[in-house]
Amino acid sequence: MRSCVVETLVFYGLAVPIVMLALVVVTTPHILRAVVALFLALVGVAGLFFLLRCPMLGALQLMVYAGGIAVLFAFAVMMVRRITGEFVRQTTRMTWPAALVACAIPLLFLALWQGQLAVLDETAELPDPIALSAATRFVATEAPAEIDPKEDLSPAMLREYVIPFEIASVLMLVAMVGAVLIGMPARPRTRPGTGAATEPESPGGDCVEVR
């Protein structure tokens, strides 16, 4: 294979900023800055999708994630901002354990291939003697043939993967209804016969104060 400098450059040009933006997301005390950083990171991930020749995913990412969720977060942040001005500590006290655990993930990944990442690249196969179940063994194939994502993805969703598709749509419906219910303001309930308004119930069920 010919090495492609551009792709590498694009990859690293996207990956590094994404990582830096992610760091901003998790560390900055300003929530709004975190939201913006996330938005930008999502855009970057969309670019990665395009790089990975999954244009549909990239488009979805941009439309739904970056355009939808990030904006949603921004709204939410606005709604829950405490405008007191005092400086509140933004991190928990378990930063170090969290860091340790977090570091364990890539280390685990590296340990898995015991530095023989080249094998993974060539064959997408795990090196011996690490034995995994056969289902996770990757069989080396030829370079994948070009695909037309539009043609293959949509029919697949409506044929082989129709059930997950439907469930996903139900899930969306449920989420929508649930979000509406949870966010609904309290409304007065009239008692039958009295006509007087009873105490407004708060949504979200009965939260009992134990203090």
């Binding site: 378990m94 354990p97 969290a98 685990l108 034995a131 995994l132």
Partner: protein, 707 residues
């Protein structure tokens, strides 16, 4: 017919049992006030035994038959044998029993226990006949014990008399001591030979299957039983006291039959006992002869000083039984057996005669008060005199003699040949016997009646008491003539032919040669004649005219007085035994005290103390361990565990997430790097615990964060 008699010889013993059962339950309602039925059955029994005798005399083969008794691991039979010796004994026993029963009609007339007496007599006769017939140790033992029981019941027949009751107990206890040895002997025999049948036992003994020491022990045990039953020294003390019973009882049981049972058993078990002969320290015959000879002399000395007529006869019986044992011990088996037969006749005669005297004197038994009865009871006197002569052994050697002469002479000769010291003792006894019997006759019948009250009221002796006396006196005279044929016939008709030395064992006179025997016969015969003559002469001289002469002699001499007291008090043996019993009883007080103060303290109160300690320990355990520890521990454990787990319930989302993340990382790592499910599970558990603990410690963070 005769064979039928012999084969069903058990009927001889069964008929009196039937009579006993009938009379026991119906009593007076039977004819003759309960007497005729036993007499009838006894008569049939006597005829039956005569039939068996005729069978054996006519050359019949000895019969051994039996009834199956029980099967308990080993098979137990009750078997009987009809052979020459058994039939001779059968006839003797049934005849004497018949005569005594007829006699009892007169003697026990008017007695409140009349019918019961006859029932007892019948049962006793039945058991004695069974004992004679037995060829199986089981049947023998049963009849042995039964005979002892009947003796107790009959001695204590007049139980309202305390002396009679005491005498009955004493008889039973003393014979029981002997029976203990007897039982041990039977047990040893069974263990050694695994059978109770006499024939098989004799076979095994002859084959040498039983070790010498065991044979010695067995023989001694059997002889111990005989010592008890036949009243040898030292278990002779019961027989004189047994004279408290009615005189027919004394005649039948304590003269002719029961006391003869011991001699009979020794005679029957001769193959076993003679197997110990000549075995050095394990020779039982030495013991038998020794004790027999000693008893013969010992009892004779006591008889001199007795005033009760029946007591004289009792000691005489003891002495004569000693002669029989002496004979058996030196190996003169026939002599002993023959003396048994003759002694039965003349001793029964003497006892029945004394019974007649007692009845005539209104149950007065002290000879010092009697006298001069010769004129008033001539029949009694003459029969008594014949009996005395037979007992004394009156006769001219080589010519003629009464029955006692023949049998005693055989014994003396045999003893002379085999055990000279014992023969000397026996000869002294042969002198003493006529001596005290003459005294008895003189004091009773000669002179004038010393008690005036008695003199006026001499009762008349009924016929049914006199006729048995006459019959017995005829037998006492004539029985000696059949000695030699009897000897040969017994040898021929021995019922246990399998024993090699059957002939010698049964009817031999030891191992002496014929010539020595003849020489001894002459020597001893004339010596005995001299002793008898001396005894009778001296007796007549001293007591011919009553007791005054000897009374004066005793008064003058302190030595004689002391001697008389010693003899009259029976060498103080009874007092000595009483002392031993007293010591035993006293020791029980010590035992009781020991039990009360020591054993009770240790075991009973000590146990109670122990239980109390255990109780307090248990209480402590319950209070401290159970209540404090367990009852509090369970909720405490739950509380601690809950408190520990509660540390996980921080309510902090971050903590939960951290734990989840850690767990996930750990799980992934483990599942990727190990390939064993167990390892995975184990590591997972460990990881989870570590995570929980670490998290619990970290959540101090969460706690402090909350305002």
């Amino acid at each position: 017919m005769l064979e039928f008699c012999a084969q069903h010889a058990y009927m001889v013993a069964v008929l009196p049992v039937v009579a006993f059962a009938i009379v026991l339950f119906t009593g007076r309602r039977t004819p003759g006030n309960g007497a005729l039925l036993p007499i009838l059955f006894m008569g049939v029994s006597f005829l039956w035994s005569v039939g068996c005798l005729a069978y054996m005399l006519s050359g019949g083969e000895p019969i051994r038959l039996g009834f199956l008794w029980a099967v308990a691991g080993d098979t137990f039979w009750l078997s009987y044998t009809v052979d020459a010796a058994a039939t001779a004994m059968l006839v003797m026993v049934s005849l004497v029993a018949l005569l005594v029963i007829i006699y009892s009609q007169g003697y026990m007339h008017g007695d409140p226990g009349y019918s019961l007496f006859f029932a007892y007599l019948s049962l006793f006769t039945a058991s004695m006949l069974g004992l004679v017939l037995a060829s199986n140790l089981l049947l023998l033992f049963i009849c042995w014990e039964l005979v002892g029981l009947m003796s107790y019941l009959l001695i204590g027949f007049w139980f309202h008399k305390p002396e009679a009751a005491r005498a009955g107990k004493k008889a039973f206890m003393t014979t029981r001591l002997g029976d203990a040895g007897f039982t041990v002997a039977i047990g040893l025999l069974f263990v050694a030979t695994r059978t109770l049948d006499l024939g098989e036992i004799f076979q095994k003994v002859a084959a040498g299957e039983v070790p010498q020491k065991t044979l010695f022990a067995i023989s001694l045990g059997l002889f111990a039983g005989a010592v008890g039953k036949s009243a040898q020294f030292p278990l002779h003390v019961w027989l004189p006291d047994a004279m408290e019973g009615p005189t027919p009882v004394s005649a039948l049981i304590h003269a002719a039959t029961m006391v003869a049972a011991g001699v009979w058993v020794v005679y029957r078990m001769s193959p076993v006992i003679s197997a110990t002969a000549g075995q050095g320290p394990y020779d039982a015959t030495v013991w038998i002869a020794g004790i027999g000879g000693f008893t013969a002399l010992f009892a004779a000395t006591i008889a001199i000083a007795q005033d009760d007529i029946k007591r004289v006869l009792a000691y005489s019986t003891i002495s004569q039984l000693g002669y029989m044992m002496l004979a058996l011990g030196v190996g003169a088996w026939f002599a002993g057996f023959f003396h048994l037969l003759t002694h039965a006749f003349f001793k029964a005669l003497l006892f029945l005669g004394s019974g007649a005297v007692i009845t005539a004197c209104h149950h007065e038994q002290d000879m010092k008060k009697m006298g001069g009865l010769m004129r008033q009871m001539p029949a009694t006197f003459w029969t008594f005199a014949i009996g005395t002569l037979a007992l004394a052994g009156a006769g001219i050697p080589g010519l003629l003699g009464l029955s006692g002469f023949h049998s005693k002479e055989m014994i003396l000769v045999a003893a002379w040949l085999h055990a000279r010291p014992l023969a000397v003792m026996a000869l002294c006894g042969a002198f003493l016997t006529p001596f005290y019997m003459t005294r008895c006759v003189c004091l009773t019948f000669f002179g004038k009646t010393r008690d005036s009250h008695l003199a006026e009221h001499i009762a008349k002796v009924p016929l049914n008491m006199t006729v048995p006396l006459i019959i017995l006196s005829v037998l006492a005279v004539s029985a000696g003539w059949i000695a030699k044929p009897l000897d040969a016939w017994l040898r021929h008709g021995y019922g246990f032919q399998s024993v090699a030395q059957a002939g010698e064992m049964v009817a031999g006179h030891g191992e002496a040669s014929e010539a020595a025997y003849r020489a001894a016969e002459i020597t001893v015969g004339w010596t005995a004649f001299g002793c008898v003559a001396l005894g009778i002469g001296l007796g007549l001289a001293l007591w011919g005219r009553g007791p005054e002469r000897t009374a004066a002699m005793v008064r003058r001499s302190a030595a004689l007085r002391a001697l008389r007291t010693l003899l009259a008090r029976k060498y103080y043996i009874d007092e000595f035994y009483g002392f031993l019993v007293h010591c035993a009883i006293c020791s029980t007080i010590w035992v009781a005290a020991f039990d009360l103060h020591v054993l009770d303290r240790i075991f009973v109160r000590g146990w109670g103390w122990l239980v109390l300690q255990l109780k307090s320990i248990a209480g402590w355990v319950d209070r401290v361990v159970v209540d404090k520890v367990l009852v509090h521990a369970a909720p405490a454990a739950v509380y601690i565990l809950g408190a520990a787990l509660q540390m996980l319930q921080t309510g902090s989302v971050h903590f939960y997430l951290l734990v989840t993340a850690l767990g996930a990382v750990a799980l992934i790592g483990i599942s990727l790097f190990t390939d064993s499910v167990v390892q995975v599970a184990g590591f997972t558990v460990v990881a989870a615990v570590v995570v929980a603990v670490a998290g619990a410690m970290l959540t101090r963070v969460g706690k402090k964060a909350a305002p």
